[in-house]
Each structure stands twice: as structure tokens, then as C-alpha cells.
């Protein structure tokens, strides 16, 4: 297969590819926006935003929305939407509470059973969407009502609690100081394990980036110029280390942060490198082209919703554990936060585009706005207003950049 298949075709010599800077404004835009929002609120709150306790708070408070955003990103990439996740959070929290508090199951078994319940919920909805062909909007709107109704049926009008310590620790607790503290001079003592974990993450990130850069160069691909490449890594390293040092000074790493890091890494790899992940993008990008390329569209859609169900159940356990009670109103409007996080994080309305890391960044943008505005004492209606406008602005920016690049392409 090494034939030059276009011999003697001198129509136009292939233009030598210009080595140009590849910056995707839509993808890098949200990181810049995130940085600006953090700086803005750090200034407005006189630095309170970045205090050790507050950083820990932001992570723990938003963990369940971030988990939902990861699943929602995949749903949106596949060209669908899920309105039911808030109700699924509530019903799975209730299931977990019944299993632990009322039936006295061991915590790990209860959590496992809850995740399975989430998978079944996702499968039920995925069946109607993938195999029966009802739009996801309708199916999950029905699910939103049905699962809220189930929650109310199980719980009646009151909550169930308290949860076992292990579940509360997962939702709200911190890693132990297994190796003791080290002194950081003027910053005071900090947990060694947390610091080591942070350093490990930074080194791992740097090595991975370097290897992928070398590989791309090996195939003659254009890469970022060296200063920009180093700059990006240094910036990421500084951010991670700053957060980790602050956490280490406070109360070590929140367990949910560890969980989130694992999810972010795992789902990023799954989305970009696994055949399943590729098929999700293909289905969302062009359903008919995917079908004619041999992608089994229905199973892909089905499993995307099963996955969403599992992640919603995980979020349900963590939310209930954090409040130490499963309540009938748990998870109200979470679906909107998760959807907003995905769109702020770069998902395209038509599907086929988006990144897991983007969803997490989008979720954090909203988390920082929430937290920062409450620190400066803004009333909740104003927080809502700002979040709404940020969502609109993010998608408007997406449409605008697309139109601009489209104007060039469509001559």
C-alpha cells in the first residue's frame, strides 16, 4: 500500500503545511475565563476565596455537581440531554439510606447496590431512548418526575439518616496524616502525604505532556512552540501545587477530591482513547455517518445513559453523605447545574464536541461564582442571575467563534 496514487497529477502541488500555532479559542477560552473569574473574586473577597479552608469548601461543596457534569458531558457529546439526574440523585440517596440506616447493610455493600440501582435507572431510560427511539429530552423529563415521585414514596416527607461514618467520610472527610507534617516556613505545617500527591500529579502531568509532544513531533505534526508548551505546564503546575499546599495546610486532601481526580483522569482517557469514547463522539457528530461506518449506534447511546445513571447514583451517595441524611428535596435543579457546567465547559449544542476536563472546569467556574458571591454577601437571586448570564455568554461565544470560522470555510 505504498503506491503514489496520483501520478502525474499536476493540478496543484499540495501546499506545504504552514506551521501555525494551534490554539482552539473555544477550548482554551474557558481556562482563561476560569483564571479571570478566580482572580476577580480573589480581589473582591480580599483573598478569602483562596484561603485553605475555603478552597477545601469549594471542592467539597461542588463535588456532586462535578461528578454529574462528567456524565452529562458524555450525554451531550452523544447528542442527547439528561434532565432526570437531579431526581436520580434524590432516589439513589434514598436507596442508600434505606439500605444502610434501615436495613443495616455494610456501607460498601450499600454503596455498591446503590450504584447498581443507578445503572438500572440509566438502563431503563437508555432503553427508551436508544432502542425505542423516543427523544432523550422526553424520556428524561418523564424520568425527572418518576424518580422524584419514587423518592417521595420511599421517604415520605422526612429525611432518613444518619449515615455510617465511612460514607460521611467519603463525602465530607479528609485523608489522614499518614506521614505527619512538614514545616513550610511562614506558611506553617502541612501534611506530607498531600504534598507528595500534589508533586506526583504535577510530575505525571509533565511527563505525559512531554511524551505526547515527542510522539507528535515524531510524526511530523505541528506542536506548540517550546515557550508556550513550558508555559502551559508551569501554569498548570503552579495551580495544582498552590491548591495542594493550601489543602495540606488545612486538613489534608478531601476524599472526594481524590475520587474526582480518578474520575477525571479515567473518563478523559476513556473519551479520547477508547473505542467506546470515539464512538460516542462519532454518534453525536453525525449519526448517519457513524451508522454507515459500522458504529453500533444503539448500544453506544444505551451505555452512555447507563453510565450517567451510575454517576448520578455516586453523586446521590455523596450528597446524602454530606448532609448526613437523604431528603425528599435532594438534588433539586442539579440537572441544570450539570448541563450548564457541560455547556460552559465547551460542549456543542449539536453534539459531537466537548471534553471531560472542560465539564469539570465549567462546574468549577460556577462553583467559584457561587462561593465568591456568597463570600461578598451577594443575595442568592443575584448569584442565579450571574450564573445564567455566564451560561448564555459561554454558549454565545461558542456560536460566535463557530460562525467566524464558518464564514472562512464557506466561501
Amino acid at each position: 500500500m505504498s503506491l503514489d496514487v496520483v501520478p502525474g497529477s499536476d493540478v496543484r502541488a499540495p501546499a506545504e503545511a504552514p506551521r501555525r500555532l494551534r490554539i482552539n479559542p473555544r477550548q482554551s477560552g474557558i481556562y482563561v475565563a476560569f483564571a479571570l473569574i478566580v482572580v476577580l473574586f480573589a480581589v473582591l473577597t480580599d483573598g478569602a476565596l483562596l484561603r485553605p479552608g475555603n478552597i477545601s469548601n469549594i471542592i467539597v461543596q461542588n463535588s456532586y455537581v462535578l461528578i454529574l457534569a462528567v456524565g452529562m458531558m458524555l450525554v451531550i457529546i452523544s447528542g442527547h440531554i439528561d434532565l432526570s439526574v437531579g431526581s436520580v440523585v434524590a432516589v439513589t440517596g434514598a436507596i442508600c439510606a434505606v439500605l444502610t440506616v434501615q436495613l443495616g447493610l455494610p456501607w460498601w455493600l450499600a454503596v455498591l447496590a446503590t450504584l447498581v440501582a443507578g445503572a438500572l435507572i440509566g438502563a431503563a431510560q437508555g432503553y427508551w431512548i436508544a432502542y425505542f427511539g423516543i427523544p432523550a429530552f422526553i424520556v428524561t423529563l418523564a424520568g425527572m418526575l418518576v424518580f422524584r415521585a419514587l423518592t417521595l414514596t420511599v421517604l415520605g416527607n422526612q429525611g432518613i439518616g444518619p449515615f455510617p461514618d465511612e460514607i460521611r467520610t467519603l463525602a465530607n472527610g479528609f485523608t489522614g496524616g499518614y506521614l505527619g507534617n512538614v514545616g513550610l516556613g511562614p506558611l506553617g505545617g502541612a501534611d506530607l502525604v498531600s504534598l507528595l500527591a500534589g508533586v506526583l500529579v504535577v510530575v505525571g502531568f509533565g511527563v505525559a505532556q512531554w511524551r505526547s509532544r515527542r510522539a507528535r513531533q515524531g510524526y511530523g505534526q505541528s506542536v506548540d512552540p517550546m515557550p508556550l508548551f513550558v508555559g502551559k505546564i508551569v501554569f498548570a503546575a503552579v495551580v495544582v501545587l498552590f491548591v495542594v499546599v493550601q489543602l495540606a495546610r488545612f486538613r489534608n486532601l478531601p476524599w472526594v477530591l481524590v475520587l474526582l481526580a480518578v474520575l477525571a483522569l479515567g473518563y478523559s482517557l476513556m473519551a479520547s482513547r477508547s473505542v467506546f469514547g470515539r464512538h460516542v463522539y462519532a454518534v453525536g457528530g453525525n449519526l448517519q455517518a457513524a451508522t454507515l461506518s459500522g458504529v453500533r449506534v444503539r448500544p453506544v447511546t444505551f451505555w452512555v445513559f447507563v453510565n450517567m445513571g451510575v454517576l448520578a447514583a455516586l453523586a446521590g451517595v455523596i450528597f446524602a453523605g454530606r448532609l448526613n441524611q437523604a431528603g425528599p428535596t435532594a438534588g433539586t435543579a442539579f440537572e441544570l447545574d450539570a448541563i450548564a457546567a457541560a455547556f460552559i465547559g465547551g460542549a456543542a449544542v449539536q453534539g459531537g464536541v466537548g471534553k471531560v476536563v472542560g465539564a469539570i472546569t465549567g462546574g468549577l467556574i460556577m462553583g467559584v461564582i457561587n462561593n465568591g458571591m456568597s463570600l461578598i454577601g451577594a443575595p442568592s437571586e443575584r448569584v442565579m442571575l450571574v450564573k445564567g448570564l455566564v451560561l448564555l455568554a459561554a454558549v454565545a461565544y461558542d456560536v460566535w467563534t463557530k460562525r467566524r470560522s464558518g464564514a472562512v470555510a464557506v466561501r
Binding site: V6, L292, V408, V410
Partner: protein, 511 residues
């Protein structure tokens, strides 16, 4: 003394990073049919968008003089108010609305804000008669074939009291009968005093119908030719469009004796999914040999695409019967995956709808059908994927800055090469190419023909479906003619002529 209804002078239009038009001139005489030719990307559509006000006055430089008056259109409504109507390549009818509703969409026949249905339908009938369409105006537009929809579009333009009608690739989706009817209609409109501007890739048609032709190349006006006075030929037009003499429109190919039979389709019958009683393909039998390029000719609606798609993993049709043999053994091709596994590839007719994931990059499109070859236990080897994409970019000369560019930024011809790369990567034994050069410019067509030749030279069997008979005659070793779902004839390259093929393609009686 010539009387020009339209003069566009010194039109220059830039987009960020590209100058699409540079100092373009276009003068159209009153009451003529004026052809505009050029390769894809030559600037034809951009020029028409300026003329129709899609690109507002001020977003370009230069002058547009219509009927002696300087024009500064702020939008389509302004240009339509002056009697300039454009009919786009993609038809803009609302399929659920009736013909009459479509005709007067945005221009409703109403009394005090309420639509007067009698007046609407009556007026619609009058306009339909003018374009020679005998349909009830209350029929939903979606129920009509493409050819008739095109006529509805023209009727719609007539209802707006059009004075300058612009048609962008009006016959691209039409069969020869419908095309001929449309061209006749244009001549009739000309005789009624309506000036037409026709953009088309079908050069024969342009020469046939136009009085004057303007050729654009790379955003400049190259020349304006008088069809009769200059005794215009296709070769002459092509020379102007590509800027050089194209001695051969088809790359040379060493004739080789075809090898043994690779694929045999026997007694293949397919029913329409919407009308399960109707046989779209009726007892078709075809065979393909190694190293052979076989054509499939047929008018629109003859069942060419339906035949191909039903063979390719039953992607079309219901109640499919018949047998498929691969290398002499009967195979069961129930799904697209099974078809791919058996070494069959199908390059679809409509690359944007069925072929490409336009938001994804070139690399991911190239690997889309053969992802399994790059994966180990469900994980994609991204480095290998990059290497594959780069290899195809080199081999097929896909013009893109790099393989990580989104596919929608590529030109039509290069997008088509990406689809070809996608299927070549699956290492098929049989390639079915459905309209492989539709909407592709002359230069890229030549390159695609060369790719097809090289595939045959590698021993693959290629089935080419095309509406352009010269393309089949120039490319194929053997041609099947299809009419109303039946194979009505089979001709070798030596025997085949356009006339003979056309006779088989229009043959309606049973064997």
C-alpha cells in the same frame, strides 16, 4: 448597443485570512441566460451572496448596478424587492407545508392578517402552471421528488415577480429528464423577459442553455464568452476554469484483464421502507471482478443508491431478498459491521450527511470505519492513528494544514478524499463509490479518478455509481444500466455509448 440589467464592478470581498473575491466583474444583458462557471472555491457562491444581499452592502467593496441604479442591499428582502431571487443548491422548502404554503412563505396572501386560502391556492395553481407542474397545491412539498421541488422553487420566485433569477447548481440533483425540462423552462422564462444567471458544474448544460458565460477562477473574473459567437466547447470552458489545457479529463489507465469474480449479487430485491409494496430494486443480478471498475448507470429513482445501500449491511429497505457471494461463497451481510468484515466499503452519495463527522478532525474521520484495526482491547493506539492519517494525506493529496484540522474547513474535493481514505483504510476488496465526484471541482475530479484507477490496479473491485454518463464511459471497464430497479443492460467499455446507455436506462417494459 447592449442593454445590461446587471453590472457588478470591482467587487472585492475578504474574510479573515482569505480574499474570496478580487476585483470581480460581472455584466449580465437583459433577457439572457448567463452562465457562471468556476471550480469549487472560485468565488461563485460568494459573488451570488453579494448580489442577493446575504453579504450586506459595506461588507465588500465595489459597485452593484441593477437596472441602472446603484444598489446597497442590506439583506435578501432588499434584493427580492428589486426582483432578484436566488435559488440555492440546497432546496429551501418546508417539507411539512403544502406547495401553496411554501410558495407564499413570507409573502402570504392575507386579508387583515388572516390567510385567504382560496386566494393562496388559486394563485399557487397559476404559478405552478407556468412552470409546467401539475400537482395539487395542497400537496405537502416533502411528498414531491427533487425535480418537482426545484420547479416549486422556481414558481416561488415567479410569485415574487422576479426579474433576475439566480440558480445555484439547479440540476445537480436532477436526472436527465428533469434537467432537460428545467432547462426548457429557463428558455421559456427568457422568452418572457426574465433574465437568468445559472451556476453549474455541468458544462454541457451551460453551453446548451446559456447565451453568455463568465468564468471565475481563484476569486477573479477570467473571461466572459459568448456561447454562439465564440463557438464554446466544454474543453474551452475547462481550460478557462483550470487555467491550462486539460487534454484528458481521465487519467490514463493500462487495460488489464479482469481477475476472478469477487462479488456476485443474485436476484436482489428490495422494498421501499415507506411503501413496503413497492419494489425499489427488482431482481437485480450483478457481478464484480478483481481489478475491475464497473459502472452503474440509471436515472434518478432507478434504485442505484438503494441497491448499493441495501447490499451494504441492509442500510436501506425492507423485505430484502436475494443472495450475495463473495469469492464464490455465499455471505450474510446483515449489518454494516458484517459488510465491513467481508471487505465491502460504501462511499455514500452525500458526504456531508452520510459520510463525514464534520465537527471532528480529519484524523478521526479517516479512522472512523477502521477503528478496530487501530485498537487493542478497546483502546485506540493514537500514535498509529496519526501515522495512518498522515499516510493517507500524502497518498491522496488531501489539502489541509494538518490532519488535526476540523473536516468542515476542507473543500468539497478534499472532504471526498477523506471519505475515500476512511474506506481505503478498512482494506476492502470491493468499493462501492456512489457519485464519487459530485460537487467536486475539475482538478479534484481528475485526482479522484486516479485514485479509483489505482484501487483497481491493486486488485480491488470498484463499483461506480454516477449520474454523469461521460464519467462512467471514461472510467469503467463495464457498465450496468438500471431502470426502475431492474438491470436492463450490461455493456463493455467498447460497446458503451451515451445513447445506448440512455436507451437501457429509460427502458421500462419487462424482460
Amino acid at each position: 448597443m447592449t442593454d445590461h440589467i446587471l453590472r457588478m464592478r470591482g467587487i472585492t470581498k475578504s474574510f479573515p485570512g482569505v480574499t474570496a473575491l478580487r476585483d470581480v466583474e460581472l455584466s449580465v444583458r437583459r433577457g439572457e441566460i448567463h452562465g457562471v462557471c468556476g471550480e469549487n472555491g472560485a468565488g461563485k457562491s460568494t459573488l451570488m451572496k453579494i448580489l442577493s444581499g446575504v453579504y450586506q452592502h459595506g461588507s465588500y467593496t465595489g459597485q452593484v448596478v441593477f437596472d441602472g441604479e446603484d444598489c446597497a442591499f442590506g439583506g435578501i428582502r432588499d434584493s427580492e424587492a428589486r426582483g432578484i431571487v436566488i435559488i440555492h443548491q440546497e432546496l429551501a422548502l418546508v417539507p411539512q407545508l403544502s406547495i401553496a404554503e411554501n410558495l407564499f412563505l413570507g409573502n402570504e396572501r392575507a386579508t387583515r392578517g388572516l390567510i385567504d386560502w382560496n386566494r393562496t391556492n388559486h394563485a399557487a395553481e397559476r404559478h405552478l402552471r407556468r412552470v409546467g407542474l401539475r400537482e395539487n397545491p395542497t400537496t405537502p412539498a416533502g411528498a414531491l421528488g427533487v425535480g418537482k421541488q426545484q420547479l416549486v422553487e422556481i414558481a416561488k420566485a415567479l410569485s415574487k415577480e422576479v426579474r433576475l433569477l439566480i440558480l445555484d447548481e439547479p440540476t445537480a440533483a436532477l436526472n436527465d429528464d428533469d434537467s432537460a425540462h428545467l432547462l426548457d423552462l429557463l428558455r421559456g422564462l427568457r422568452d418572457e423577459g426574465i433574465t437568468c444567471v445559472v451556476i453549474s458544474h455541468k458544462l454541457g448544460e451551460i453551453i446548451d442553455v446559456a447565451d453568455t458565460v463568465t468564468i471565475l477562477r481563484d476569486g477573479r473574473t477570467i473571461e466572459t464568452l459568448d456561447v454562439r459567437a465564440d463557438q464554446l466547447t466544454e474543453e474551452r470552458l475547462i481550460a478557462g476554469m483550470v487555467g491550462r489545457d486539460l487534454e484528458h479529463r481521465f487519467p490514463p489507465r493500462e487495460p488489464t484483464a479482469p481477475g476472478e469474480e469477487v462479488l456476485r449479487i443474485e436476484d436482489w430485491t428490495v422494498h421501499s421502507p415507506t411503501q413496503p409494496d413497492r419494489r425499489v430494486v427488482d431482481g437485480a443480478t450483478l457481478s464484480l471482478c478483481r481489478g475491475e471498475i464497473v459502472g452503474l448507470a440509471g436515472l434518478m429513482g432507478a434504485g442505484r443508491t438503494e441497491l448499493a445501500m441495501s447490499v451494504f449491511g441492509r442500510s436501506y429497505g425492507v423485505r430484502i431478498s436475494g443472495r450475495i457471494f463473495k469469492d464464490g461463497k455465499e455471505i450474510d451481510v446483515r449489518s454494516v459491521r458484517a459488510a465491513i468484515r467481508h471487505g465491502i466499503a460504501y462511499v455514500s452519495e452525500d458526504r456531508k450527511r452520510h459520510g463525514l463527522n464534520l465537527v471532528a478532525d480529519v484524523k478521526r474521520n479517516v479512522s472512523a470505519a477502521g477503528l478496530g484495526l487501530l485498537a487493542n482491547r478497546g483502546w485506540v493506539n493514537e500514535h498509529e492513528e496519526l501515522r495512518v492519517a498522515e499516510r493517507f494525506r500524502d497518498r491522496l493529496r488531501i489539502k489541509t494544514p494538518d490532519v488535526l484540522a476540523p473536516t468542515h474547513t476542507l473543500s468539497g474535493g478534499n472532504q471526498q478524499k477523506v471519505v475515500l481514505a476512511k474506506w481505503m483504510f478498512t482494506e476492502p476488496d470491493v468499493l462501492i463509490l456512489d457519485e464519487p465526484t459530485r460537487g467536486v471541482d475539475v482538478g479534484a475530479k481528475y485526482e479522484i479518478y486516479a485514485i479509483v484507477n489505482s484501487l483497481a490496479a491493486q486488485g480491488k473491485a470498484v463499483l461506480v455509481i454516477s449520474s454523469e454518463l461521460p464519467e462512467l464511459l471514461g472510467l469503467c471497464d463495464r457498465i450496468y444500466a438500471l431502470s426502475a430497479g431492474r438491470v436492463t443492460g450490461e455493456l463493455t467499455a467498447g460497446e458503451a455509448t451515451q445513447e445506448r446507455l440512455m436507451r437501457y436506462m429509460t427502458q421500462e417494459d419487462r424482460r
